[in-house]
């Protein structure tokens, strides 16, 4: 298990409070809440790997297990809680992380402050993207909630301000503002990829996150009418700075290959500007959802001016229908356009059509099955350079899942 210093602080603090509330039940307004969720997923593809990048012949699996504990204090205005999530994608090392751990104070319906490791409000579904029972499809739409971008948008060590403002008789405007650090560490996939890439060129070369330059911030506005029609707009910025690790072979610096860093300089700085637009309508047994994502990234090497490095535009349309208490189904169409200088050739476009059914055995157990048709290579799992990306025309996959929630 890998903990950052902050995560250790959260864990310790929350454990102390949980023990305190158990020993002094009169201080707590409620009993402790425990919830668990988990899933086992199997994937079969006829051509490429989908999601799990170490599968053989397109087959793979992944497992998730989560546990949360929380309590409320001070007339239920103070909330303290945490959630731990274990994920295993194919042969990837089993990883147990703190999903969220936060302290929140609700002043009134208009103002709520939370501090800690927060799951980001990102689109309609980021906060619940790992909770299978919150949707009909097995995964949150990969056009917006892409596994490859998970670390960039998933969670932040942040201070959040949230609130709900009723707008006359029309509905409610929810707002969210956040400032903090993106939850990216040296053990994150994005960091490992950088190091692997540079190590292949210069052995011994390794970069560390420069925490002083790590910033994440943004805001979200969502208006929901009394008829459950929602509109969402979000803007978010991430900034990451990487420095050469201290143990870099001094001869490499001495050789002049790498200039000595000046104060405040980083060897690599990455800025990402993210926008999301969404519309959702729930009408009786129908739910219609559509979201649009736009990401523009820039990078700067050795403190030089930022230059565009990567851009992605994606959208999807999804229709859900609940047939009865047990059965529901969905149909989704998505599109991703990507321009990257390294991973993909210019103007790479991919489409993704899927449909599936969900069967709720009871309130706790769910079975799901879905079919995916892909055109293009964007949804191929992995982070390597795909030599034949343009030759990928059409491939498909079926996915099955058993999930539980308590």
């Amino acid at each position: 298990m890998k903990f950052t210093k902050l995560n250790t602080i959260y864990t310790s603090l929350i454990c102390i409070l949980v023990i305190f509330s158990t020993l002094n039940p009169s201080y707590s307004s409620d009993t402790l809440d425990f919830h668990v969720f988990g899933s086992q997923t199997a994937i079969y593809s006829n051509d490429n790997d989908y999601l799990v990048d170490d599968s053989q012949d397109g087959a793979g699996s992944f497992q998730e297990l989560g546990l949360n504990v929380s309590n409320e204090y001070h007339n239920s205005r103070l909330f303290i809680g945490m959630q731990v999530l274990a994920r295993r994608f194919g042969a990837e090392t089993k990883k147990i992380d703190i999903d969220w751990a936060k302290i929140r104070y609700n002043f009134n319906p208009y103002i709520t402050l939370s501090l800690g490791l927060n799951k980001n409000k990102f689109g309609f579904s980021n906060e619940s993207r790992d909770i299978d029972s919150t949707r009909i499809s097995i995964l949150a739409p990969q056009e917006i909630y892409q596994e490859r971008l998970r670390e960039m948008v998933f969670a932040s060590q942040s201070l959040n301000l949230d609130g709900n403002v009723p707008i006359s008789n029309y509905g409610t405007l929810s707002y969210h503002a956040t400032i903090g650090y993106p939850n990216i560490t040296n053990s994150s996939v994005i960091s490992k990829n950088f190091n692997e890439k540079f190590n292949s060129i210069v052995p011994g070369f390794a970069m560390d996150i420069d925490y002083s330059g790590k910033v994440s911030g943004g805001g979200l506005l969502q208006f929901t009418t009394n008829n459950n029609l929602s509109f969402l707009f979000q803007k978010r910025n991430n900034r990451l700075n990487y420095n050469i690790r201290d143990n870099l072979n001094p001869t490499l610096v001495g050789s002049g290959m790498f200039p000595p860093l000046q104060g405040g300089d980083s060897i690599l700085s990455i800025k990402s500007d993210i926008e999301v637009y969404g519309i959702k309508y729930e009408y009786e047994d129908w739910t219609f959802t559509s979201e649009y994502l736009d990401i523009d990234s820039e990078q700067s090497v050795f403190g030089a001016a930022y230059t565009p490095s990567d851009s992605t535009s994606a959208y999807y349309f999804n229709i859900d229908y609940d047939w009865n208490y047990h059965f529901s189904s969905y149909l989704k169409y998505g599109h991703v356009g990507h321009n990257g200088t390294t991973k993909f050739p210019d103007d790479t476009e991919s489409t993704h059509t899927s449909f599936g059914v969900r069967y709720d055995i009871n309130q706790n157990f769910t079975l799901k099955s879905e079919y995916h048709l892909f055109k293009g290579g964007y949804f191929v799992a992995g982070d390597g350079t795909f030599q034949n990306i343009e030759s990928i025309n059409s491939w498909d996959a079926v996915v099955f899942r058993l999930a539980f929630v308590y």
Partner: protein, 201 residues
């Protein structure tokens, strides 16, 4: 992706969204029309509850008789629901918007007393539960469960407590000053001491 291509994609998306929005507006307009005509399912039960009279602080059947016959009939309707709070609560009525925000977890305290709202409801799949969810929340039981599962696992707030037995539910309200509950109107015949019914405006 080139800038021109990106702009074209945005325009296409905007067009599709606009068309979708127009369709939804049409759907909404139709819904309003049918509501005016009194044809919409769910409207009936909410209107019935508009007539529910206050039975403040009283539990005796004699007080129930104060309801006029049509109100009593509305209350006994198997699909109708009523709103019950603790008898020490000073409020006499609540509007649909407030009730909706309470059950969405967006209002969590009584404004006058600053007490925590303890929210209870009779099984979402019961006829009264369905009627309440449809007319006030505009949700099916499935969607209501989904909404709260999302909230629970993102650490937002604790869900309303679902209770299967009307008598137990009413007892919770009697024991809890901050309590509010949706109950089947027919269960008001056995309203325990410490509970009162409030009007839905």
């Amino acid at each position: 992706m080139s800038l021109a291509k990106k702009s074209t994609m945005k325009i296409q998306l905007f067009t599709i969204l606009s068309l979708t929005l127009c369709s939804l507006c049409t759907l909404y307009a139709n819904e309003l029309t049918s509501t005016k005509d009194g044809n919409k399912p769910g409207t009936k039960s909410s209107n019935q509850n508009l007539d529910v009279s206050l039975i403040a602080n009283k539990t005796k059947n004699s007080e129930m008789i104060a309801l006029n016959s049509s109100e009593a009939k509305a209350n006994i309707d198997s699909e109708s629901f009523s709103i019950v709070v603790n008898s020490n609560n000073k409020i006499d009525s609540i509007n649909k918007k407030q009730l909706r925000l309470i059950f969405l977890g967006r209002i969590r305290h009584w404004s006058e007393s600053n007490k925590k709202l303890n929210v209870y409801y009779l099984e979402a799949t019961s006829s009264a539960g369905k009627s309440f969810l449809k007319s006030i929340m505009r949700m099916t039981p499935d969607k209501f469960y989904l909404y709260w599962t999302k909230k629970v696992f993102s650490g937002s707030s604790a869900p309303p407590t679902e209770i299967k037995s009307s008598s137990k539910l009413l007892q919770h309200i009697a024991d809890n000053e901050g309590g509010i509950a949706i109950v089947q109107s027919s269960s008001l015949k056995n309203l325990p001491e410490g509970c009162k019914v409030i009007k839905l405006e």
